[in-house]
Subunit: 339 residues, 2 copies
């Protein structure tokens, strides 16, 4: 992109051929005399010629890059998702153009627009943006995959099965005879948080219809887990199992419970969601959300579409997995993965 580099014309002149021949050789096209080919390759080599990807994509109307717009999410997620995307994208010969998006819809729209002309498609993850904002931000003719975003937009989408995940946790606890379950939810504006909350209520209605389920509002941060426990105790709410909407809050719950001398999992069982590395270390039973696979899948679907397939505006759901550790007791029979 800077001054010095040799262009296709330099190679052509030096090899005494036309740029077309150079282009043919560089792109492995047919019909080039072996001798000319050899000469051209030698010259290209000696000049250190590397095709200018920008020019190439302008002429081909194809950048082989896909834009990724992510919210400012936690370290674990970020790296996992991007890792999955990167794996797939590299295997397919594409590049990833990154752009973070802070919860602001205006900035989001700007980030999305700024990618026109540099990517062939986009992957947008916007758990906190509403349908309309997303719709306005995405150019209508831009192939895009929505990941864990608000439903309602006629776009191809991917989301983890929050409801089934939470339901698995509830089933697991219910199978142990626990009924007084409490859900510590995430921020209300967040689509994942909302689905988990609903999933909890639905699962309770199905699996323990005789009890009135309790939901305490949290915000996905560790502290709100501790706060939830404090509230529970202050109000004297009976509880033998806490289903947190994510692992960080579950950790807060565990710490508060133990600090208060409550036996975990003896008196109260705890489950989280996400399966962050800490969960494994601290023995937290949780729902594993396969973020890397999700990223890879999003890329795969998008590129498939870009290369001729259809990008059907349907939502695909990614299965989660219940990982039983020491915050819920014993190996329970028949409480496998999903519900």
């Amino acid at each position: 992109m800077r001054q010095g580099s040799a262009t296709i014309r330099d190679v052509a002149r030096e090899a005494a051929v036309s740029v077309a021949s150079v282009s043919r050789v560089m792109n492995g096209h047919v019909s080039v005399h072996p001798e000319t080919r050899a000469r051209i390759m030698a010259v290209a080599q000696s000049l250190g010629y590397v095709p200018h990807a920008g020019a190439r994509s302008l002429s081909l109307s194809r950048s082989h890059a896909i834009g990724v717009v992510l919210p400012d999410l936690h370290g674990e997620f970020f790296s996992e998702i991007v890792r999955g995307m990167d794996r797939e994208v590299t295997a397919r010969g594409y590049h990833l153009l990154l752009s973070n998006m802070h919860a602001d819809a205006v900035l989001a729209a700007q980030a999305v627009r700024s990618m026109r002309g540099r990517v062939d498609g986009m992957i947008v993850m916007a758990p906190q943006l509403d349908t309309q904002a997303l719709d306005e931000a995405l150019p209508p003719d831009m192939p895009a995959m929505l990941v864990n975003s608000s439903p309602g937009v006629a776009r191809a989408a991917l989301r983890i099965d929050n409801a089934a995940g939470i339901a698995a946790s509830v089933a697991h606890l219910v199978a142990q005879g626990r009924r007084a379950l409490v859900h510590v939810s995430g921020p209300p504006a967040n689509i994942d948080a909302e689905e988990r909350r609903r999933g909890f209520l639905d699962a309770m209605a199905r699996l323990a219809p005789e009890v009135e389920p309790v939901v305490i509002a949290g915000d996905f941060h560790e502290e709100s887990g501790g706060a939830a426990v404090a509230m529970l105790r202050a109000r004297g709410i009976a509880c033998d199992g806490i289903v947190a909407a994510n692992d960080m809050m579950a950790l807060g719950v565990m710490a508060a419970l133990r600090a208060a001398g409550v036996d975990v999992p003896g008196a109260v069982a705890v489950t989280g969601f996400d399966d962050i590395p800490l969960a494994r270390y601290l023995g937290l039973t949780t729902i594993r959300a396969p973020m890397a696979e999700m990223g890879a899948r999003a890329v795969a679907r998008l590129i498939d579409a870009l290369e001729g397939g259809e990008l059907r505006a349907e939502e695909e759901t990614i299965a989660t997995e219940l990982v039983i550790r020491s915050t819920t007791p014993g190996s329970v029979i028949g409480s496998g993965g999903s519900v």
Copy 2:
């Protein structure tokens, strides 16, 4: 990048002006009649016109994108570095083009080349590539910053101060009267690992010249920490402090020690390096490596250079910070940050 989008010509035609005027308006240039400007903007708006960044960068020879080539590193680092870069890059109106690089030099070269014509500069992090491979991979005229890479190349570089960090750990332990220190090193081909190993030996020579320092080879993975402890015990090597080359190994060390009934930090103190989130949770004393700041700094230096400044081929070092937790006892007086 697809078919539908309106081009500058569509806007020009619709507004009954030349493309030059549209261009002037879009780029906020002077000398455009207010009336024409208004008309053009109205048309652009109604057509949903968004400038084609690819074409723009071809004609300007400026892509406002910077390429990032990273090794396949652990989640924590990856996200922290990229977060720092993203923050800076967004603030400056640039984009990040990502590319992973698996330890193979050929693939690395290819990854780097594939970015010509799509980025204005690059940030390369290659702790396991040697100088020559790096040199060959980077186009001579491509502005680039090396991050935690092999020294010796005449390029601008940034690296965390591994030696000072380890020295701080050693000083901290020595200040507690510990002398029988053991270092569990990282993989020998890794530049960070090597610098930490050397840093340990140098610090020991300086701070505890009377003892023969012990180094056990690890590989940055948790298991090798446990293996190191096993070896220590099998050989009956005396030891009252273990300085691991990274946190994961330190965790392995802690687990093995405790499993063997050894009191930590009573009998043996343990320190790590990196300060991953787990370190905080498990109370591991460690050296904090500010990866986000490092990423941001790399971007800042690169963009400064791209926008007129000089990109001097000098190495800048990023300071680390000793974080004392419970795997090394008590608050020790006078053992602050660096040595």
